[in-house]
Structure formats: structure tokens, C-alpha cells
Amino acid sequence: MTYETRLTADERAELRAIAAEIVPASDEYGVPGADDPAIQADLLATLGRDTALVREALGQLRTLAGGSFGALPPDRREVVAGALRATGGKAVATLSRVVLQCYYRDDRVLHSLGLEARAPFPMGNVLPDGDWSLLDPVRARPPFWRRTD
């Protein structure tokens, strides 16, 4: 399957601007915003099959903004972003997802959450065995599956 995977320069700028509204940078948590260049590069490189819906969402954004979303003053951007989110639909959901799925695999973001920045395989994880004595009340129950004989 082939997809049109390139956004125009204007669309990329709008994507960067709305990404910053979805997840802004935070000094408190020491994390970049979703408009961070590395996150944006990951987003554009992996947009793939989602390109058409993201383009559609950016078109909706331009309509709501009455022009360039990125050119709006900050307080107006927040209002328009809220309106876009309230619009809902598959395109807006896809836009939100692609931003979040790239943001929450960024090394800096994962480290800030106390998570390791790696694939699950091959290291895996350690799982505590748990307290099996919790099962004692259930063990004490008589069989209760329904007999048919």
C-alpha cells in the first residue's frame, strides 16, 4: 500500500503549532513540548498512512482559525485548539494520536516519567510474584461450576 506522506511547509508549520497546544513544554517537569524539533522530525518521518487524515485535520484547524493557526496570538490559539478538539471526528483523533505517540516515545519525556527509553525486547521487566495468601478465601470456596450430569 502506498500513501502520500509529505506535508507542505505550511502544513508542517501548522502541525508544529497545534502540537505545542496539545502538549506544551514544561519547566516544572523539565520536558519539551510536542513542537520540539526532534519530536517533530520523528512525527514527520513516521506519518505514513496517517498523512491524509492529519492534512484533513489541519484544514479544519485553518478554517477555525480563519487563516494561519500559528499566526494567531497565544490566547487565541488556545481557544481555537479547544474548538478543534471539540469538533471531534476521525481526522482530529488521528492528529492527536500521532502527536501523542511520538511525544511519549521521546527519550527525554520517558526519562521524566521514570521510564526506560528502550524497546521491551530483549530486556523485559521484573514482575513481583505477589502475595498468594490473598487467594486463601477463594481456595476455601467449594466448587461452584454448574454440573450437567
Binding site: 497546544e21 496539545i22 485548539a81 479547544g82 492527536s96 520517558l110 513481583p128 510474584d129 461450576w145 450437567t148
Partner: protein, 532 residues
């Protein structure tokens, strides 16, 4: 022209693999045609940094989203529950959660016990030795002694309870409700050449470690060593019949897209509850104008999913989250019929452990509990790693209007008509979903969870495809007989979830495979009189 074979199996998934392995000991020449290929675990999502994102793309459970060359499209627009599957050697066992309960004895007697649907022509006792054999072949972990199920001995110890299991256990104990570590096909010890689970935590979209049993790494290696041939990237268009009304073989497109014919003395269909009726309906002919083996008119009808009521919330404590297999515990507290609940039959709860950061962000944003803007970070830190999740897996009663037909327009990449799904939730299922949601809320309340979210039914929840070529002794009310042979075509067998008479309220793979082994055993016992 391919040389004729003794047995032609269509589909290399859960049931096709089991029947192939069992029949291999006969030394008959057996060929399996599979539209997918062999999977490469190095390319599984859990081996890459984009492990979560791929669930929204090339490793989506939906063939319509995934769109791999091995997939066929499904028109499920007219169903609130979308069809999920995976097409490869191993079939949907490559992409399942490995939750492995069995149907209960009562599931085979629903008409007698509860006055609904129909009884099965076989019972739990008939399948019991095949359940046990399948547990050994797939490698099941679990804990003996569950008072909710007939006695059985899983060959491996259960998965660790972890933080999530303990949190659920305390909550369920406070309510006095049943819970137990789930039977799973996740290896908790090294087992028959498979490495033990190391908690990749991303079991459903295939296990890079190989700890989760999928039939490409369980049944198929053994079947191939015994001489069974698997032909991959071969998509079957139709089963043809001869002048005697017997199956003659199958027309298929090979890996190069070239039309081929494979003659066979016996044809076994193992394509799941959507793929099997699709193939039978696409095999209509002058002798079988309504589709092959369809004199009853029931091919494609009585489609059953398991409607899922998923309910989750967030605890102050950390859960296991994405750092452990999603399978954890089950509860059969509400499985058997209690008419005071307002419905018949029942459901199990499947308790999970949580999700990774991407899925947490995406699903919470979609639910409206994770804001955009300045408040995003603080809220995400309260959600991530704190999710407590469960799903009620509800029995779906058979209704003829829930069905698989051929779409008049939609076709796959080979031009073969695609399946169309028409499905509505029955009133009994709606009441059961509501009951499951209410009980789940009680469990979450007992655990102290907040920010409760509900998906009922889960739209992307059509994992279990059942009932569309059901078994029975009456040729007018069933498609195959009590040992899997088509009433109308005496050398045609069906071994997948299509043959289920009722759905039960548990994940069906264990029972599907037990039935496949049982049918193979019946065939072996009757070889001299198989077509009588």
C-alpha cells in the same frame, strides 16, 4: 497441476495447525494453504521503540486498518463490533492476549438448562482429553484448584500475581467474589523449546520472546517434522466439487498471484467464523447454488462475537502497567445463569494490568480525561502507570439475523468477494453488558479507583468469530455433524470457531483447538468409513 493430496487444510491458524499435527501421524499426504506468511519475531512491535504506535498501523488487530498484503477487507460498517483477526502462519494466535479459559460444562447444554439457543451435540466430557492434550501442546500456565472450573492441571505454574493482581485480589475479597490466576499460554518456565516469559508486557501484538504460544511455534514445527507441507501466501478462492457432490480440491492464488488447483481426497476448512462462511459462500456452484454445505441455509448465520464491557479507573498506587503480560486474573463469579440478574447465561471478568505511555495518552485523550495544554503534564502523571482495567466477556446468544454474507462490491486484492457483517446486539447481551459494567464499577470502587472510563461494547472487540457453520445432528438446523463433517459433503470438514453452537462467555481459542483435535481424532478412528 499439483499432485493430489490426501488432506488439504485451508488456514494455518489455531485450528488448522492442531488438526494438521494430529492427522500427521496417519502418514497421509497433508498440505495446508495459508494466505499469510511465516512471521519474523525480530520484526514484532515489542522489538522496536515504536512498539505501541504500531498497534495503530501495521499491527492493528483490524485487517481493515492493518491492510497488509496478507489481509482481506471486511465490510463491518453494519456492526457495532468490528472484526479483528490476523493472517499468517499461526493466524490470530500470533495476535491474541493468550487468555486461555475453557468453555464450562453448562455451555454445552444451554437449551436443557436455560431454555435458550440449542444444546451442542457433544459435551465437556467428550472434549476433556483434547483440552488436556492442547494444554500440553500449546503450553498452558495456570494454577490447579479453581473452584469455578472443572479440575485440570496446567503444565506450568501461573504468571506472577504482581502489583495489579494483588490490588484486584484485595478488592474482590472485600466483595466476597471469585477470582483466580488465569490460565494463559504464556510460558512461565522454559517449555518445549520456548523461552520463558520475561515480561515484555506487549503480548497481544505478537511476542518477540516466543514465550506466548502461537501455533507457528507450537503445533507447526511438530506437524512439519511429521511431514505436513505448509504453502504460504496462497489464498483460496473456492472449494470445487466433483460429479458425485464431493469436494474435489481448492482453487487458489499462489505467492506469485498465479491461479492453481490442488486436488484432495479430504478438505478441512479452518478459516475462522468469518473466513470459513466466506469461503463456503464463494464456493457456490450449480450443484450447491447457495454456497457449499449450505442446504440448511445456515452458513454465515448465527454469527456470535463476545461483546466486551471494558471498565477501568486509576488508583493512587502504581499498577504493573505495561511491564507485565496483560493477562492476570479471571473471575467466574457471574458465569452461570442466575435469572434474578435479568438475563440468562453469563460472563467472566478478565483483569488486566495497565497500558504503556502512548496508549495511556491516546485513550485518555480520546476519553476526555487527559487535557490539552497546561494541565496535560500533571494529569498524565496521575494516570500513567496507575490504570486498573477489566473486561466482562459476555456470552452472545445465536441469532440468525447476525450473519456473514458476501459483499456485492468489496473484494480482496485477488478479486475475491469480501465478507460483509450484519450484526446487532441482542437484548440479553445488552443486559449482560450493563450488569458487567455495574459489577466492574463496584470492584473499582472497592479498590479506590477514580476517573472511571467505560467502553461497552468495545467497538474494536470482534476477536471471537463464532457460530457461522454450527455443528448438530439435524442437517436442517446445522452445517456439520457432531464430528465436524459437513452434512452435505462427506469429505468436507470444518474445525474452527464456526462450528460453535453457542459462544460461552470465555475466550474461545482453547475450545476451538480442543474441537479441532477431537475432529481429527474422529477422522482417524473412522478412516475406513470416513465417507459413509
Amino acid at each position: 497441476m499439483n499432485d493430489p493430496v490426501d488432506v488439504l487444510i485451508v488456514g494455518a491458524g489455531a485450528s488448522g495447525a492442531a488438526v494438521a499435527w494430529s492427522l500427521a501421524e496417519t502418514r497421509m499426504r497433508i498440505v495446508c494453504l495459508e494466505q499469510g506468511g511465516w512471521m519474523n519475531p525480530a520484526e514484532y512491535p515489542s522489538a522496536g521503540r515504536d512498539w505501541e504506535a504500531r498497534a495503530y498501523g501495521d499491527f492493528s488487530p483490524s485487517p481493515n486498518v492493518r491492510g497488509r498484503r496478507e489481509d482481506y477487507p471486511v465490510n463491518d460498517d453494519n456492526s457495532p463490533i468490528k472484526v479483528l483477526n490476523f493472517n499468517a502462519v499461526g493466524g490470530s494466535t500470533v495476535m491474541y492476549t493468550a487468555h486461555f479459559p475453557r468453555l464450562h460444562p453448562s455451555d454445552f447444554r444451554v437449551r436443557t438448562l436455560d431454555g435458550v439457543a440449542e444444546d451442542w451435540p457433544i459435551d465437556y466430557a467428550t472434549l476433556e482429553p483434547f483440552f488436556a492434550l492442547n494444554d500440553r501442546m500449546m503450553g498452558v500456565s495456570g494454577l490447579a484448584g479453581d473452584p469455578a472450573t472443572p479440575p485440570h492441571e496446567p503444565p506450568m505454574p501461573p504468571l506472577p500475581m504482581g502489583k495489579s493482581g494483588a490490588l484486584f485480589g484485595k478488592a474482590l475479597n472485600s466483595l466476597g467474589w471469585h477470582w483466580w490466576p488465569s490460565d494463559t499460554t504464556v510460558a512461565t518456565t522454559d517449555y518445549e523449546g520456548r523461552a520463558r516469559c520475561i515480561n515484555l508486557g506487549h503480548c497481544t501484538p505478537a511476542c518477540a520472546q516466543g514465550a506466548k504460544a502461537s501455533t507457528d511455534i507450537t503445533y507447526w514445527p511438530a506437524a512439519r517434522r511429521a511431514g505436513v507441507e505448509v504453502r504460504t501466501h496462497c489464498r483460496v478462492r473456492e472449494i470445487t466439487t466433483n460429479e458425485h457432490g464431493m469436494a474435489a480440491g481448492a482453487v487458489y492464488y499462489d505467492a506469485d498471484g498465479v491461479e492453481q488447483f490442488q486436488a484432495a481426497h479430504v478438505v478441512v476448512v479452518a478459516c475462522n467464523g468469518v473466513g470459513t462462511p466466506r469461503l463456503l459462500l464463494n464456493s457456490a456452484s450449480g450443484r450447491f447454488p447457495n454456497g457449499l454445505a449450505n442446504s440448511s441455509g445456515l452458513v454465515g448465520k448465527n454469527l456470535m462475537f463476545h461483546p466486551y464491557a471494558q471498565v477501568y479507573g486509576y488508583l493512587p498506587e502504581e499498577t504493573d502497567s505495561h511491564r507485565a503480560p496483560p493477562t492476570c486474573l479471571w473471575s467466574h463469579e457471574f458465569y452461570e445463569t442466575d435469572r434474578t440478574r435479568g438475563f440468562v447465561r453469563g460472563y467472566i471478568f478478565q483483569f488486566g494490568r495497565g497500558v504503556g505511555p502512548v496508549v495511556e495518552a491516546v485513550t485518555s485523550e480520546a476519553k476526555g480525561i487527559l487535557p490539552w495544554g497546561r494541565e496535560h503534564h500533571a494529569k498524565f502523571r496521575r494516570l500513567s502507570g496507575h490504570r486498573m482495567s477489566m473486561a466482562a466477556i459476555c456470552e452472545d446468544l445465536p441469532e440468525e439475523h447476525n450473519r456473514v454474507t458476501l459483499d456485492p462490491v468489496l473484494k480482496d486484492s485477488h478479486g475475491i468477494p469480501a465478507p460483509r457483517i450484519d450484526y446487532t446486539l441482542g437484548e440479553n447481551s445488552r443486559r449482560m453488558l450493563a450488569h458487567g459494567e455495574a459489577r466492574a464499577r463496584e470492584i473499582l470502587a472497592a479498590a479506590g479507583a477514580t476517573d472511571i472510563c467505560v467502553n461497552s461494547p468495545i467497538p474494536m472487540g470482534g476477536w471471537h468469530l463464532l457460530g457461522t457453520a454450527r455443528m448438530g445432528t439435524d442437517p436442517e438446523r446445522s452445517v456439520v455433524n457432531e464430528w465436524g463433517r459437513a452434512h452435505d459433503v462427506k469429505n468436507l470438514f470444518i474445525v474452527d470457531g464456526s462450528v460453535f453452537v453457542t459462544s460461552g462467555g470465555v475466550n474461545p481459542t482453547s475450545t476451538i483447538q480442543a474441537i479441532a483435535l477431537y475432529v481429527a481424532d474422529q477422522m482417524k478412528q473412522r478412516l475406513a468409513t470416513l465417507f459413509d
